[in-house]
């Protein structure tokens, strides 16, 4: 874990010094963000952002908040109102905070008056249905579903489909990806969620951390290679006899 943290921090520092050296593969779904906001601006209707069903203890929510900041800035440029819906009370405060800061930094603090953060219910299925109702009521043009989802993924995205919204979804909960594929226009798959905010902001810190994360994966892959070779030579489990007792969680 320490090695991995070091790797990330090292890559971040490299990226800070030479921002041009870090490359990030384009992520298909993210190009559509501008399109989605543009669509809302044309229609003169708001966009809806849902940061998933979890609170900040889930890392996906934190990643989604990064995207929310970016989307809010874009919206401030186009004067498009944002509605954020959530099913965790604690997220109301956090989302408002993100919106306020984004609008301030875009020089449009007045945007806070037309945007809102709506807590709907602690029950996430009711929250999904409530969000679907909002999409109809407010004639929402585009829907952004970023973060952690459970079975309600289809509930909220089918709601958007029926309401005729353009939808972009991103989740690292792999079980829900097929349902987003089925009902959204663009899907950012699994891990790509974590790379999202880096790709959007193009800040050295973020780019570096994505590069570090990739090196971490490379490390993991080589570990896997060694492990498989050892297992092939020695048979199942043997070189790691008793490993599980080394880690008592």
């Amino acid at each position: 874990m320490l090695a991995f943290s070091g790797l990330v921090l090292w890559k971040i520092s490299v990226a800070k010094r030479h921002p041009d050296r870090v490359y990030i593969r384009p992520i298909a779904g993210l190009k559509a963000i501008d399109e989605a906001i543009g669509r809302a601006a044309e229609l003169g209707t708001p966009i809806l952002f849902n940061p998933g069903i979890e609170d900040f203890t889930n890392i996906q929510t934190l990643a989604a908040l990064g995207v929310l900041g970016h989307v809010a800035k874009k919206c401030a440029q186009f004067s498009t109102p944002i509605i954020v819906t959530t099913c965790k009370p604690v997220m109301v405060a956090i989302c408002e905070d993100v919106l306020r800061s984004a609008f301030d930094s875009a020089g449009r603090p007045d945007m806070m008056h037309v945007s809102e953060v709506r807590f709907i219910s602690t029950q996430n299925d009711l929250a999904a249905l409530g969000a679907s109702a909002l999409m109809v009521d407010r004639r929402v043009a585009s829907v952004f579903l970023f973060g952690s989802y459970d079975y309600t993924s289809l509930l909220i995205s089918e709601g958007g489909k029926i309401a005729g919204c353009m939808q972009i979804a991103a989740t690292a909960d792999y079980y829900q990806v097929p349902f987003f594929i089925a009902s959204c226009d663009y899907v950012v798959m699994v891990e790509e969620l974590f790379a999202c905010s880096s790709y959007l902001s193009r800040e050295p810190v973020m780019m570096g951390s994505v590069a570090g994360q990739d090196f971490g994966k490379l490390l993991l892959l080589s570990l896997l290679g060694i492990g498989v070779v050892l297992a092939t030579i020695y048979g199942t489990g043997n070189p790691f006899n008793g490993y599980e007792r080394l880690f008592s969680f």
Binding site: F4, L62, P89, R118, D137, L155, Y174, A182, V205
Partner: protein, 407 residues
């Protein structure tokens, strides 16, 4: 505002640091600990003062039938006060403890003194509320002891005056040494695998490999940290209430379209609160019956209905997405179809004519293979990737590198 920003970064770091250290730091620090093979121990002891009696010293030694078990009153997660066993390390001068001793067999009773089979004497305090004799078989209180009885006694509200953690004689790097334990020393018994487990001094047996060092406190406070986390997140619940109340209140006051919905909402909240309060009544009362009615007939019924809406959505979603447009889409479709049919009786109905010999080509078995092999591979691949992404994102947030709040 510059100072709140700095403070925020600092508290974010500290809050995260606790949980990271709790994970990384062992119960005693390897550099500061002594490791050796135990020979003998001299028992730990503590002195307590009980109401209406003189201070007395108790030894915590093994093989002593009257060895006191130390209990402290603590609230459990449900809020009830329970007596939980604790260790000498966790009590200090000033702590109020309950001691349970025995069971012992009574040899003779001489006024307020009981002589036990093992030769020890116990002073009974008749009429004292803090002292009680029990029959360990039934758990009932015994008024007076008679010879031949097996009893246990409990001393409540004993105030700890001093504690002595005891000492241990061990072989360290081939030399014999006697080590005096500190008040906060942790004794870890090492096993063939792993980092070892904490034991009490009287649990040390000759030949045990032990590691003794100062407490790092993280493991001790794990419960408190979890409780802190739970409490602070629950406190934010009011924000949700407030926000919903504002939205609906404004709609109602300004008679916006759909204001009647808000009226229903407030009525329902009152109903919900009443049901919530009734939940804590005993079964059989009216309030409880009402609460159960709301929970079972309304909340549960609607929750499962909303759940079941998904079956319909699933059908339309499947109809829309599973088209043979590209090779990839076809793969997804085929695997979904196999798993879907394989899980129903139709699966074996359609393919079991192939006979046992080709049973691995039966649809249920193909479905099972997809779930067991490629699915597990995909799942692990995704999990490892997500793990790395989560590490990197967590690191950024912990060190406040992420400009989440746009500052």
């Amino acid at each position: 505002m510059k100072s709140p920003r700095t403070v925020t970064i600092a508290v974010t770091f500290v809050a995260g640091l606790y949980f990271i250290l709790d994970f990384v730091v062992p119960p005693t620090l390897p550099g500061l600990s002594t490791r050796g093979v135990a020979l003998t121990t001299s028992p730990a002891s503590f002195t307590v003062e009980v109401p209406s009696n003189r201070p007395a010293t108790y030894l915590v030694a093994k093989d002593d039938p009257l060895r006191p078990q130390i209990l402290v009153a603590q609230r459990d997660v449900m809020g009830q006060i329970k007596l939980v066993p604790t260790t000498l390390r966790q009590i200090g001068p000033g702590s109020v403890v309950t001691m349970r001793r025995g069971p012992f067999e009574v040899k003779a009773v001489n006024g307020p003194t009981i002589l036990t089979q093992s030769g020890a004497t116990i002073q009974v305090e008749p009429g004292s509320g803090s002292f009680a004799l029990y029959d360990p078989a039934t758990g009932r209180r015994v008024r007076s002891a008679t010879a031949g009885q097996t009893l246990q006694f409990e001393q409540r509200d004993a105030k700890v005056l001093t504690t002595d953690p005891g000492s241990i004689e061990l072989i360290e790097n081939g030399r014999r040494a006697t080590l005096k334990l500190g008040r906060q020393s942790v004794v870890m018994k090492l096993s063939r695998y792993g980092a070892g487990t904490e034991i009490q001094l009287d649990g040390v047996r000759p030949g045990d490999t032990v590691q003794i060092g100062p407490n790092t406190y993280f493991a001790d406070n794990r419960d408190a940290a979890a409780q802190f986390n739970l409490v602070i997140t629950t406190m934010a619940f009011g924000i949700g209430l407030f926000s919903l109340g504002m939205v609906n209140g404004q709609t109602l006051v300004k008679r916006r379209s759909g204001w009647y919905l808000s009226a229903f909402f407030f009525g329902a909240v009152i109903l919900g609160v009443a049901a919530g309060i009734g939940k804590y009544d005993d079964p059989g009362t009216k309030a409880r019956a009402f609460s159960d009615f709301v929970v079972v007939q309304i909340i549960a019924s609607v929750t499962s209905t909303v759940f079941s809406l998904l079956a319909f959505y699933m059908a339309t979603a499947a109809y829309r997405v599973f088209r043979v447009r590209t090779g990839e889409a076809a793969l997804m479709m085929v695997s979904a179809l196999i798993v879907m049919i394989g899980q129903t009786p139709f699966g074996s109905y359609l393919t079991s004519w192939m006979g046992e010999r080709y049973s691995s080509f039966w649809l249920p078995n193909i479905a099972a293979w997809i779930l067991r092999v490629p699915n597990t591979g995909v799942f692990r691949g995704l999990v490892f990737g997500v793990m790395m992404g989560a590490f990197a994102t967590a690191l950024r947030y912990w060190l406040s590198m992420e400009r989440m709040a746009g500052d």
